[in-house]
């Protein structure tokens, strides 16, 4: 093993960074982390190195590309196109494009191992499962590595793949499956906001002088498609500063793409008022151009108050068919400032989606676009978990960060960073605290992959590790033994099987409760998680949990035994592996063990 490889498997873009493992290196020296450019098709017949691999996959048909124009250095005829070309062609023919596969991976409303993507593909287009699509991106990265770095085969290196902190146990398991399917061998999962923080440490050798004991760092990660919050506390361990991940937020499907689309819709609305209607393809062009115009308007030192946005004519008549519009700075300020980052008080919670009788299955996009309200909810939720005395809190219970670290492409814009700091400062002032300190992060696009590679080295003893453990509490549902009442489901209780913060490489036996499992028949357990309840200890039985618990895919175990049939009394044992994977085991009195597996299929059938 020569290198550790950090892979940021993003919703819209993926990146790869690596660092050399040198046992002889000075342990206090910050290791050098390098980025690898990723060869990919950018046009038919044109393979080019790009710093990012767009997480887009295109299922080519016979009329899509000229014969032989999809050859990659490692595959003369790939069945799918991944990367920039897929993204480009997908705009022209959306029915064959797989995008946001990662969001589908965490969406419990669909069977994530069934071929369902592209979601709106016409009849006859071969489909992939969200797991397959994710594994295709990872496969591309593996082969790209082997094509570029010839002295160290990918499968012999240690690999870290990042996942959103908000990914639950099922989504993490599925990510691992995707990695295995892509031929990965030695994989560890790491949470993205933690990786972003590692990247900051990697860039600041003197980090111990920049934070002190008792500090609370809020990592705000706003990417193209998702928003993710994490709190990291600075603690002390054997007289040394240590870091501990305290809380992670819920999975919010809200990001930069939504913001650019909101701007495009605004411009499209203005055009419609003037009598110019645009179609879907043109809206896509407008979306893209609005992003560019927005970046120009928000660039440091930009003085212009408006930027022209144009949609070029479709036919050979370029000038004649051009639609001209303007994106004004004030519109950008208004849409972003009021729509996505409004000044709100820390008690304003995001609106919940109305429950419709028949909900269209698709990605569960955030119902409320206000990132600041989601942030308020996140910091408020920490109020209910009083066991963490290391979390600095205001009189109202609001978790009060001392520092903030930004990550994700959206936060390149100073306007948005300033607004977030302004809102946080107002909340802190109301709680009687001073302003929050921004930690200067650079390279917001690559921080996650860089940080992942750094963490890989940390596991080899170089560098500091953030202690975290399982970011949620996990439960198994148990139907209470009560007489059934017609028209009402029998009340459900929840048995705590994994406490919040359970550390990697540890296990816990849930004693005092046994289940009789019939040999030869699959037994299924309903499985729940909570990011709010943090005080439940293993074995604790919870009743009346309301909205605190979220149901995940059920878990299933099939007892096969050599000594015939019958009922075996078993108890649960929870294991968190060194690679951060949560496992539930059924253990018989005589020590025999069976692993519970997620059943992502069953959920959909219900």
């Amino acid at each position: 093993m020569k290198y550790v490889i950090g892979i940021d498997l993003g919703t819209t873009n993926s990146a790869l960074a690596y660092a050399e493992i040198r046992p002889d290196a000075d342990p206090f020296d910050t290791p050098e982390v390098r980025l690898m450019d990723i060869p990919q098709l950018v046009n038919p017949s044109e393979v080019r190195d790009e710093p990012l691999l767009p997480s887009s996959l295109y299922v080519p048909g016979t009329t899509d590309f000229p014969v032989g124009s999809l050859a990659l250095p490692w595959d003369a005829e790939p069945p799918f196109v991944t990367g920039r070309l897929a993204q480009k062609r997908g705009v022209e023919n959306a029915g064959r494009l797989v995008a946001s596969a990662k969001s589908w991976l965490s969406h419990a409303g669909v069977d994530r191992t069934a071929p369902i993507l592209p979601w709106n593909a016409p009849e006859g287009v071969p489909k992939l499962s969200p797991v397959d699509a994710s594994s295709r991106y990872l496969d591309h990265l593996r082969r790209a590595w082997d094509a570029k770095i010839t002295d160290a085969p990918f499968t012999e290196q240690q690999v870290l793949v990042t996942v959103p902190a908000s990914f639950d146990a099922v989504a993490r398991e599925l990510t691992l499956q995707a990695a295995e399917r892509a031929g990965f061998r030695d994989v560890t999962l790491l949470e993205e906001p933690q990786a972003a923080f590692y990247a900051w440490i990697e860039r600041h050798k003197d980090w111990r002088e920049r934070v002190k004991l008792g500090d609370l760092i809020l990592v705000l990660d706003i990417g193209g498609g998702t928003t993710d919050f994490t709190l990291i506390a600075v603690t002390e361990q054997q007289g040394e500063l240590a870091l501990e991940r305290m809380a992670v937020g819920e999975h919010i499907l809200l990001g930069g793409d939504n913001m650019d689309l909101a701007l495009a819709r605004l411009v499209a609305g203005e055009l419609a008022e003037k009598g110019t209607r645009i179609d879907t393809l043109q809206l896509h062009a407008l979306w893209h151009n609005c992003r560019i115009a927005k970046e120009k308007l928000l660039a440091p030192g930009a003085r212009t108050k408006e930027q022209p946005v144009t949609i070029l004519g479709k036919g050979t008549g370029l000038v004649g068919g051009t639609i001209k519009a303007t994106l004004r700075r004030e519109d950008v300020d208004r849409v972003l400032g009021e729509g996505f980052f409004p000044r709100v008080s820390s008690s304003e919670m995001p609106q919940r989606a109305r429950r419709m009788g028949l909900q269209e299955i698709g990605l569960p996009y955030a119902a409320d676009a206000a990132v600041t309200k989601h942030l308020a909810q996140f910091l408020r939720q920490q109020a209910s978990s009083a066991e963490h005395e290391r979390v600095r809190r205001g009189p109202s219970g609001l978790a009060a960060p001392t520092h903030v670290l930004f990550n994700g492409g959206v936060l390149h814009a100073r306007l948005i960073r300033d607004r977030l700091i302004e809102v946080l400062d107002a909340w802190l002032m109301a709680e009687g605290f001073g302003p929050v300190q921004p930690l200067a992060g650079e390279d917001l696009m690559h921080a996650v992959s860089r940080g992942a590679a750094y963490y890989g080295l940390a596991r080899h003893g170089r560098g500091v590790r953030i202690r975290g453990g399982v970011p949620r509490t996990y439960y198994v549902g148990i139907e209470s033994a009560m007489p059934a009442v017609p028209g009402m489901a029998s009340p459900l209780k929840a048995l705590t099987v994994a406490p919040f913060g359970m550390e990697e490489g540890s296990s816990v036996r849930i004693s005092g409760r046994e289940f009789g499992l019939v040999v030869g028949e699959p037994a299924e357990f309903r499985f729940f998680s909570s990011s709010v309840r943090k005080n439940d200890t293993p074995g604790a039985m919870i009743e009346d949990f309301g909205d605190d618990l979220q149901e995940l895919s059920p878990m299933e175990v099939n007892l096969t035994s050599t000594d015939g049939t019958g009922t075996v009394p078993v108890s649960f044992e929870t294991v968190v592996t060194e690679t951060g994977v949560l496992q539930l085991w059924c253990v018989a009195r005589d020590g025999r063990r069976w692993k519970l597996e997620f059943n992502v299929r069953e959920r959909v059938a219900q």
């Binding site: 017949s45 000229p66 124009s69 144009t310 070029l312 370029l318 000038v319 004649g320």
Partner: protein, 173 residues
């Protein structure tokens, strides 16, 4: 054929055509090294000189719609309309040109200042104005000139007709 006649024919053959006559070779039991094989059909994949030019045009059309713009009759449109279309086109054309051809000035100086050129090749430096007889010692740099530093065009797909600069587009409703 006598030895003398062979020697004389060989002498003149080498003197005028640089090689031994065919029958002389046979007589002496020699074979030509690397003799030209019978003209087999050359593979169609050999790039024609025009391919690179067509490829560049095709790239500028694909990325910046340059051919559309140049071929369009813009006389009827207002400067405003032309300007709106050209801004985006300009950004794109510049980006792709920079990507595939590294452009650099022939003389890296400031236009309008006195410059002494190192070369006097008229293809590299052009003197204008009151040019004296012989090589002028220098003058005001009017235009820095352009040189293609590094050309980095993607390989051509041998199965593709390079004369197609842009495919026709049909939108399926």
């Amino acid at each position: 054929m006598g030895r003398i006649s062979l020697a004389i024919r060989s002498f003149f053959s080498i003197l005028f055509s640089g090689s031994l006559p065919e029958d002389g070779l046979i007589k002496l039991g020699l074979t030509r090294r690397g003799a030209p094989k019978a003209q087999t059909a050359s593979p169609p994949a050999v790039p024609r000189p025009a391919d690179g030019a067509l490829q560049m045009l095709s790239i500028l059309q694909r990325d910046a719609r340059l051919i559309d713009f140049i071929m369009e009759d813009i006389a009827a449109y207002t400067d405003d309309q032309v300007g709106a279309a050209v801004r985006g086109l300009h950004d794109q054309a510049r980006e792709s040109l920079a990507r595939y051809v590294k452009l650099e000035p022939v003389i890296d100086g400031v236009e309008g200042t006195f410059t002494k050129p190192a070369l006097s090749d008229p293809a590299v430096v052009k003197f204008v104005g009151n040019v004296p007889v012989g090589k002028p010692s220098g003058g005001l740099l009017r235009h820095k000139g352009w040189r293609a530093g590094k050309i980095d065009l993607p390989p051509l797909n041998p199965k593709q007709d390079s004369s197609i600069l842009a495919p026709a587009e049909i939108e399926v409703e």
